[in-house]
Amino acid sequence: MSTAVATPTTTPAVAAPKGKLSFPHLLRSEWIKFWSVRSTIWTLGIFLFATISLVVLISLAFVNAPSEAEGGPPASQAADALGPFAVAVTLAQLALAVLGALTITSEYTTGMIRSSLTAVPKRLPVLWSKAIVLMVSVLFAAVVALAVSAVLQALFFDSKDFSIDWSDAQTLRALGGTALYLATIALFAFALGALLRHSAAAVATVLGLLLVAPILFSAIPWKPLTYMFPFLPGVAGQQVTQTDAQLADAAASSPIGADLSAWQGYGVLLLWIVLTLTAASVLLKKRDA
């Protein structure tokens, strides 16, 4: 019946480059995807603008705050130059959380994920390469934002002795920790996005955990919540953005609950990510796309 078609597959006449699927190629693909949508430019733009302007404005407010003699806070609690960074980051991180979640959920909401999984049928490498591209890009953006902020702060307020002390190892660790924390928060939002596969759900969950949960946990006078408070992802992760002296002060003022060190806190945030990503990857592997 089909003798005429039994001819073996000959090499196609069109001479096209024969490609091969590999992880470096996949990183390149995800890099193109990441930078070719407007949401990346918007969220990173907002993040840069918010961080830099907030650091400068809050520094201005701190410099002009009344001294102890004028009825201001006691000198021991007066903010150092790192103070404005902590406040700015708490707000600016939200833009990065949105970016992290959208990096994966936008593929689900548009159906792009099926094209991605067709090109990479083993599936999981898509998740890893996206995570790497996101982490690297956000880390770079965070370093730029913090560096520009620190330079501007020094430019405007160095005369008032309110600028980053680059010779202090603790300050540098806190600042480096801030950049790392920001990239890690983006990764946490990404992990939640991969698990929930829905933009609104992922953004709402990550904002709830970062913003609402700490307020609720500290406002409700119920002991288990007080004990759990230090282990919230945002609370634990932000330990690494502070100097050991600041952490010791904070530990002294909270009578109950665990006092996590900088890297213990960061480890707790990483644990949140590992658990979320593990669940997401199991589901990605098992579910129909």
Partner: protein, 312 residues
Amino acid sequence: MIEAQGLTKRYGPKTAVDGITFTVQPGRVTGFLGPNGAGKSTTMRMIMGLDRPSGGSVVVNGKPYAQHHSPLTEVGALLEAKAVHTGRSARNHLRAIAATHGIGDKRVNEVIEMTGLDAVAKRRVGGFSLGMGQRLGIAAALVGDPRTLILDEPVNGLDPEGVLWVRNLVRYLASEGRTVFLSSHLMSEMAVTADHLLVIGRGKIIADGPTATVIAQATEETVRVVSPQATDLAALLQGPGVSVTSDEPGVLVVSGATSIQVGELAASNRVVLHELTPVSGSLEEAYMSLTQDSVEYHSSEVPAELTQEGSR
């Protein structure tokens, strides 16, 4: 070459694909024909590893799709035109897909030109018409220059010029020795595009053979006879394997006998004939008769001429 063996997909209690076995050969266009909900898309998604089979297996070029080292150069697929990020330009979409296999911009530009997307390549996909989206999907399927091509309803939303373009393209690709597997719910389109037909209904393969054969088997040849002695002739024609119906006085529709047989019978019995016409059934009728027992979503009213001929 695509080989499916007992391929099954169940969603809860509902069986979408029911243990189908088939082979799609290289070097020809194989049409996958069936009504909506028959299991065409599910089957194609299982071939591409997007849906996991509940039972059975399917291999492409000898291996499950996911086990190929270079999937996009083995198989190119258009499963749904809108599997695209709406905020990205067509060109960047193709660049991102090509990049996974280290395929450069040269090939991307080639497929953009080949699919006639030059003018809109830099525009964001969100504003594309169904037809342009379909062309972008075909471009994405071709970017790896694959040995096997799987297209789900590729002419959906295309204008006549686009339909003709797809037809010529798939025939050309098959002539190069590639495997081409495309689905449609339009019999007329399949009849002019496909060399081989695989008809599916309710998750089961109903017919598998060369297009002409499948159509011939499904199409009933009838003979229209007009005679003043219609009643006498009808009585003479009645016999095993022959059925005669009459919609209006003096007009007979004979099935199971050729016009030659009817004419000779009339002559030997001195019956006057005013008209003797062989009538071959339409493609639509053939399709309906093939799939009428397996249509998932019936219209509430079924035209009369389709219900009375149950024999096959």
